[in-house]
């Protein structure tokens, strides 16, 4: 067959494949500008009735950690909460929370009622620290390495599957690189 007849078919299939892949992309998942960058400078007071807040130094202490942005007003946070409760029981990785734009009483009640999986939980009442972390929808979960660098960001509900298949393998890989 002559090349001139083949080229249009090749172009058509290339376009079809590109568009098909495009259909599967989620426009809600905005790539984070902070991947491989150090965590922002911040210092948050503890959530009401708790004693450990969260600050930059807590994430640069040589430990791999997860930082989960949550709020009592956020429905999906309730959905992912049991996954974090189970994770905190294993003690495999440090889990910290940023309580985003929440009412202090609501936040405290929420943690009392459903359990507190966080080692440290800072209250970001006006959302400024959230902006520094590039937060645009709650829940969001960050993987931070030993040196306090953000290595991965997951937007939306954390499921057991995503935790097992994406987050924990990364955590183990980072840990092995002590």
């Amino acid at each position: 067959m002559r090349l001139g007849y083949v080229i249009p078919f090749v172009l058509f299939f290339a376009l079809a494949v590109a568009l098909y892949v495009g259909l599967g992309l989620k426009p809600r998942d905005i790539p984070s500008a902070l991947i491989d960058k150090p965590v922002p400078e911040f210092n948050l007071p503890p959530v009401k009735d708790h004693d450990k807040g969260l600050k930059t130094a807590d994430l640069k202490n040589g430990e791999v950690s997860l930082v989960n942005v949550f709020a009592s007003w956020c429905g999906p946070c309730r959905v992912e909460h049991p996954v974090f409760m189970a994770l905190s029981k294993t003690g495999e990785v440090a889990l910290h929370g940023i309580n985003y734009k929440d009412d202090p009483d609501n936040a405290s009640n929420w943690l009392a009622r459903y359990g507190n999986p966080y080692t440290r939980a800072g209250a970001d009442r006006n959302g400024r620290v959230g902006i520094d972390w590039g937060v645009y929808g709650v829940p969001e979960t960050f993987v931070v390495d030993q040196g306090g660098r953000i290595r991965y960001k997951h937007v939306g509900v954390m499921t057991q599957e995503i935790l097992d298949k994406r987050i924990m393998p990364l955590v183990r890989k980072l840990k092995s690189k002590q």
Binding site: R28, I30, A33, D103, V135, V138
Partner: protein, 170 residues
């Protein structure tokens, strides 16, 4: 019945489901910020102009100036704070791009990762143009290829056929 109606219903359902899986930062709460204009009218005008350039992360096709989302309001106030504290327009935009990436710019910058975005359409148009020109040129050349002339035998046959037809037609 409008055949598109089902499509709209389907779209609505899809939107509703995707809205449920992620809670955009729109819920009112105790710490709602309010839009408080800057006191200096020139600064406020600069802030308002910048608001139009920044994309809202919650309602993705609106600028933060158009959006009612709480995050958009927070970002509007953040822009005012930066300007109020003496930042230039560029510094203010850079401050937000550092946190949310080029994605927040409604007018994406021209750089190596966006060449496809900026020049792709022109490239595709040029390719199509070249294709059309080649096609037209070839179709014009083709009739000029010599056609084998008829042999004397065929010539005679053609003549008799034509004569035949002319005879029956009249």
């Amino acid at each position: 019945m409008n055949p598109f109606r089902h499509l709209f219903v389907l779209l609505f359902v899809v939107c509703a489901i995707s809205a449920l899986t992620l809670t955009p930062v729109t819920e009112p709460n105790a710490q709602s910020t309010i839009d408080k204009p800057l006191e200096n009218p020139a600064d406020e005008a600069r802030a308002l102009a910048l608001h139009k350039l920044l994309r809202c992360l919650v309602c993705q096709n609106q600028s933060i100036s158009d959006s009612n989302a709480e995050l958009a309001r927070d970002l509007r106030m953040l822009v005012r704070q930066r300007i109020g504290s003496g930042d230039s327009d560029e510094e203010t935009i850079a401050y937000i791009v550092d946190r949310y990436g080029d994605w927040v710019l409604l007018d994406p910058p021209v750089k190596s990762t966006t060449y496809v975005l900026w020049f792709g359409p022109v490239g595709i148009f040029l390719l199509a143009l070249i294709g059309v020109i080649l096609f037209l040129r070839r179709s014009r050349i083709q009739p000029a290829t010599p056609v084998a002339s008829l042999s004397t035998e065929e010539e005679a046959k053609l003549k008799s056929m034509l004569a035949d037809r002319d005879g029956t037609d009249k």
